[in-house]
Each structure stands twice: as C-alpha cells, then as structure tokens.
C-alpha cells in the first residue's frame, strides 16, 4: 500500500478584489496573527470572494493528479497553498516528504550572471547543497542541452533556453511530492516531450500534481483529475472523465456566449447557392451537440438555390478544430445544372476524433469560385467514451479521408458518394 503524501481537507482561500482594501486586510491579518488570534475565519469581509472553497483530496505515492480549469479557477492558488507559500483560510494540508516544484522555472536567475553561476544560485534556492550541485552539474547541463552557452550571461539566452535551464535544475531535485504549473507554455516541441517524458518517468516514485491547459498532456501523465471552477471543486475522477466534463462545460459556455454575441460564425462566398440550416445527430448523442467517440455522426443541411448554375458545383462538409484548422473534408460528386433547392446528408461512421470541441464547416464551390462557405456552421464536442486516447496515446495525425458517405439531393435527383468507393 503506497503511503499518502498529500492530504488536503476542506481548504478554502479568500482573496480581495480591491487593492487598497487588500493591503489593509494584510496589515490587519499580520496584526491579528502576531496576537495569536487568527483562526479558521470562514466569513468573507467586504469585497472579498472565495478563490478556493472546500477543496479536499488525497494523493499517494505513484499517483498523478491533474488540475483542470479555466483561468482564475484557483489552480495556481491551490498549488501555492500546497507549497506553503500562502496559508489557507480554512482547512488543513499535510505534506509528507520533500516538496519540489516546477513552477516559475528559473526564478531567481540573475540575468547578468552566467548559466554556470545561476545553476548554483537556483539550485540553492531549490534546496540543493553545493556538493549536490557539483555532483549533478554535468547532468544538468546535458539535460538542458546548453553546453555551449553555459558561460554566457543568462540575459543572452532565449526564453526557451531560460526555461530549459530552469527545468534541468528543478528536475534534479529528487522530491517526494512534485508540483508542476504550466511549464509547457514556453519551449519547443522537443522540450515539451522531454518534460512529459520526465514526468511520466518519475511518477512511480513521487506524488505529482500537475496544472496545465494542455489537456492532452494531462491525460498522458495523470490518472486522476480535479476540475475547478471559480474556486469550487466540480469533479474528482479519472482524468479522462474530468477532461470530458470540462470540455462539455466549456462547450456549453461558449455556446451560451455565441448565442449572445453571434460573432463566431464566418460566412463568405458569391451566394448563388446558400446553406440555410444545419443539424447533427448521432446514434447515442442524447446530449444534442455532444457526441461520443466511436458513434456515427450524421450531418444534415439544407440549401437554397437562387440561380441556375452553369458550371459543376461540389458540396463539401468538413470538420475543423477551434483554431479553424481543417481536420478532414468530405466532398460530394460534382453536380451539373444545379437549379433547385436541396439537402445534403453526410454520414461519418465511427467518429474517432480526440475528445475536444470541434467546428463543422460547409462549403459549396464552383470549379474555381467559392459560392458559399459557412464556418463554423455548428460546434460540437466529442467525449472519449472508451478512453481510447489514454489507452493508445496515439500521436498527431493528418487524415487523408474519413470513411464516410455523402448524399446530395436536388429536386428528385439524388446522388451518393462513398469513401472509400
């Protein structure tokens, strides 16, 4: 039975929105602590809010816990409390073992000093003795891959090199409990892979708490996840489930925002034919625009034709990610003499996208002219029902096509196109 390393019981923390007031509360808090009075104060003072409320969890050796949530959800605050930087306002934290942190990599670096000197300073800040650093020095330099720059002042480093050096030092601290806060933001792909590899490698020996907006890396590293929303613990479960829940929530939220502002959709084209509406359905998509992976997705759209088309037209249905990068496109057969309204039905069996939110786009093209492009015509989220992403941890990929069936009906004329044929 692995030992419990971190126990958090009913942690709460309040912050103040107003700077002047916050400073004054600070003075008062210091005074009352000096008098030995400050205790579980669970009342909010004016202009205060709960940055964290009633957070409880446990972490054992060999476990990795991912903290997920939007900006301002309280993830970093929670890490700060666990790290002993700030005190909780209610509750209790017990940390057993040496605590290490990959937070603010390279904090304490002096820009004027060389990388070599800064390794010693930063190592000392992280609790390594000179002897320990001497022993690990070469390892650190190799890990950071900075041998040529080690005697150059750190101010001449790029931000990626800066973080690499910081990470290399922090990675050689051998903690029992490791706190990691968004370290993948800077650094190239190779560095990211190194970070994730390193974390995966040490997880069996430590208890890891990992904060990142890179959900895939959380799924890769962590078995357990906690979803935070405005300081509240919304879900504690398997990390893939927590991520799915997070996706669903952010989808609903973005949907609400979109229906309020209607700025998200982009429409262009010459407009002789226009899509009117679009809907999706999936065999077990009970939840409207939330689709389970592996299910069959059916997209239906109607279009209106304002003018007889002389050239051949082609209808396309595609799926794009939130950054409007096209992931896969299906095209219909070519239509000659399109002159009537019609509809299009596109079937994607075995939808196997990663659990994320996606956009659906529709387009109609002439041989060379864009007639209509609607992007995103609709947004939907995929939930990873089988936890496939975790099990196979498939890499990035570019799809040539997706097995699908696309049917366009214009008047009585209906044609189906199948891939693969």
């Amino acid at each position: 039975m692995p030992e419990t390393l971190v126990t958090a019981e009913n942690l709460s923390k309040k912050f103040c929105r107003d700077l002047k007031r916050s400073l004054w509360y600070g003075v008062k808090d210091i005074a009352s602590e000096m008098l030995g009075r400050r205790n579980n104060d669970s009342e909010l003072r004016p202009k205060e809010f709960w940055a964290l409320k009633d957070i409880s969890f446990e972490l054992k050796r060999g476990e990795a816990l991912g903290l997920i949530g939007r900006n301002g959800a309280g993830k970093t605050t929670l890490l700060k409390i666990l790290n002993g930087l700030i005190k909780p306002d209610t509750g209790k934290v017990t940390m057993k073992g040496r605590v290490g942190a990959f937070i603010a990599l390279g904090a304490g670096f002096n820009p004027i000093l060389t990388g070599r000197e800064n390794i010693y300073v930063n190592g000392a800040v992280l609790g390594l003795s000179k002897k320990e650093i001497d022993g690990k020095f070469d390892e650190i330099v190799d890990f950071a891959d900075l041998r040529d720059f080690i005697d150059a002042p750190v101010q001449s480093y790029s931000s990626g090199m800066h973080v690499r050096l910081g990470f290399a030092i922090a990675a050689h601290c051998e903690p029992d409990i490791l706190l990691v806060d968004e370290i993948l933001a800077v650094g190239d792909d190779q560095f990211r892979r190194k970070c994730i590899d390193h974390m995966t490698k040490i997880v069996p020996n430590v208890g890891l708490i990992y904060v990142s907006h890179n959900l895939r890396s959380i799924e890769q590293v962590c078995q357990q996840g906690i979803l935070l929303d405005r300081g509240n613990m919304i879900a504690v479960s398997k990390s893939s489930d927590v991520i799915a829940e997070y996706m669903k929530r952010s989808y609903i939220e973005s949907e609400n925002n979109a229906s309020q502002s209607r700025i998200a959709t982009h429409r262009e084209g010459s407009g002789e034919i226009r899509y009117l509406n679009v809907s999706i359905a999936s065999e077990n998509g009970s939840n409207g625009k939330v689709v389970q992976s592996g299910s069959t997705l059916v997209v239906r759209a109607n279009f209106q034709c304002f003018m007889r088309m002389k050239n051949t037209v082609r209808f396309r249905v595609g799926i794009e990610d939130l950054a409007t990068r096209t992931l896969v496109t299906m095209a219909s057969c070519d239509f000659n003499d399109a002159s009537d309204d019609g509809e299009i039905e596109c079937i994607f069996p075995n939808l196997s996208f990663r659990p994320r939110t996606y956009g659906l786009y529709l387009s109609i093209t002439d041989l060379c002219v864009l007639i209509d492009r609607w992007s995103p015509a609709l947004r939907f989220s995929v939930i990873d029902r089988f936890n496939l992403e975790r099990m196979y941890s498939v890499g990035d990929g570019e799809l040539l096509y997706w097995p699908n069936e696309i049917t366009v009906t214009i008047g009585k004329n209906s044609e189906t196109h199948r891939y693969p044929p």
Binding site: M34, N83, V93, A107
Partner: protein, 284 residues
C-alpha cells in the same frame, strides 16, 4: 527512509499558538539558509559590480561625497566643529563610513525582500536567507570602505588605541540595530511603498541628529535628541574604542545593544508570520 521524511502541516492557525514548534522551525530554517544566503550574497555582489566600469569604487563613493561636502563646509567655516581629537576630514570620514553601515543595514531587509518578490511568490525557501544575504552584501561593501578608512587614518597619522580590537562589537551593534529596524519595517514596507520613500528622507535627516559629522553638543535640544537616538551610542563607542581609548560609560551602548537583540527576535517572528500574507498580496 520513511522515518525521517519531513512532514509539513499548513493550517490557518497562528504559528504563535505553538511557540515551541515555531522556535524549532526558526532555528532549523536559520541553519538551513546559510548555504543559500551565501549563494545569494555572491550572486548579488558579483551582479552588482560586474556591470559597472568603476567596480568596487562604488562602495566608497557615498561616504566619500558626504565627507567631502562637510570638509568643504567646515573649511569655509560655514559649520565650525571643535573639540575633536583628530583632524576634521578623518573625523568626518570615520563617522560617515559607520553611518553608511547603519543606513545600509536599515535599508537592506526591505530591499532584498522587494527584489526577491518573484522568487517569494513562486518558490518555498527559508526566508531567513534573504535577510542574511542582505547583511552579507552590506558587510562586503563595508569591508571595502574599511580599507579606505584605514588609508585615511594612516594618512592623518591618527594614533590607534589597542582597544580597536573590540571594534567588531560596536560594528555588530550597528548592523544589528539597522537590521532590526529594517526587518520590523518589512511587513508594512512590502505592502505600502510609503515606507521605502520615507526611509530615504528619514535617513538623510537623521544624520544630523547623530554624531556623524560633528560631536554631540554639550547642551540644547540637539543634545537631548542625540542622547535618545539609538544610533548615537553605537557610533560614539566605535569612535572611542578606535582612537580614544577605554570608553568611560558603556551603559547606553549596552542598553541599546540588548534592546536591539530582543527586538530583532521579535522582528524575526513577525517577518516569518507576515511572509505568507505578504506573498498572497504581492501575487494577487
């Protein structure tokens, strides 16, 4: 192995509720912070002087300017200082070197804590290291000043008494007094910028209420103020053991020294207790 694994518990409770644990932690952190304090001192000193053309000369520059000003004022009889055993330039330089030590010690805690904000907000390390590294830095620059002072005393052929062997004691007193006041100001000084600005003004005025550039007058308001100024006995004693011989009255010095030690301990507790609250406000 799991026997000596440290266990840390964080609760909202005031640490003063468990004084024994508090004192043990203070002692442990002080012990553990020496290595880090040394590193930070070396870091800051080398960074400070590396990007300058004049280098270590900057350590003696401030007292030199102050001294020259007063030497000029005195030689043109704008101020008229008498009853000093040694030539006025030596007297002034002696005073300003030690005065600067006090001022540096006073400013150091707030300065090092402010400069380390980023580190404080992100990394947990023994906070004592910051204060210690501040002391390390001022002692280093004081060492340079001391060499200059020795040259000045040699130049004026000032007869040094054997009691100079005791001079480290009042030096320690000056550093302790400055650090004590500085540490007491840290909690409020980090929250409100007013403190740092007032320190600058206060120290430039306080020099005239301390026997730095002239000896204490026999009577009058200034004499009374000087008598109650805690820096006075420290500077006076330094002068006495250096070139006047055995001090006749050590009571004010001993009282100030003792009070400083008590207050430095209280300041230390306050510094520790305030730190999480300060970190919260500096990152919020």
């Amino acid at each position: 192995m799991s026997e000596n694994v440290p266990e840390l518990i964080y609760t909202p409770e005031s640490q003063l509720r468990h004084p024994r644990q508090l004192f043990r932690n203070m002692w442990m952190d002080l012990k553990n912070s020496r290595g880090l304090a040394w590193r930070l001192t070396v870091r800051d000193i080398s960074a400070q002087y590396r990007q300058t053309a004049l280098g270590y000369f900057w350590a003696v520059f401030p007292p030199l300017v102050t001294s020259l000003t007063f030497i000029l004022l005195n030689s043109s009889k704008i101020i008229d200082v008498r009853d000093i055993e040694i030539p006025y330039p030596a007297f002034v330089f002696f005073g300003t070197v030690f005065w600067q030590l006090f001022v540096d010690a006073l400013n150091a805690p707030l300065k090092v804590v402010t400069n380390a904000k980023m580190m404080l907000a992100k990394i947990n390390f023994p906070k004592e290291a910051l204060i210690l590294s501040g002391i390390g830095q001022i002692l280093f620059s004081f060492g340079i000043k001391l060499i200059m002072l020795a040259l000045v005393l040699l130049f004026f052929k000032i007869p040094i008494k054997w009691t100079v062997l005791f001079v480290p004691i009042p030096i320690l007193g000056l550093v302790a007094l400055g650090t004590m006041l500085g540490v007491l100001l840290v909690p409020i000084g980090v929250l409100y910028k007013d403190i740092q600005s007032s320190l600058l003004i206060a120290t430039s005025a306080l020099i005239f209420f301390t026997p730095v550039v002239y000896p204490p007058p026999e009577a009058g308001m200034l004499s009374t103020v000087m008598k109650f100024n805690p820096v006075t006995p420290m500077i006076m004693t330094t002068r006495q053991v250096a070139y006047q011989g055995i001090p006749h009255n050590l009571v004010p010095f001993c009282l100030t020294f003792f009070a400083t030690l008590v207050l430095i301990f209280i300041g230390w507790i306050m510094y520790r207790i305030a730190m999480p609250i300060l970190v919260e406000r500096m990152s919020a």
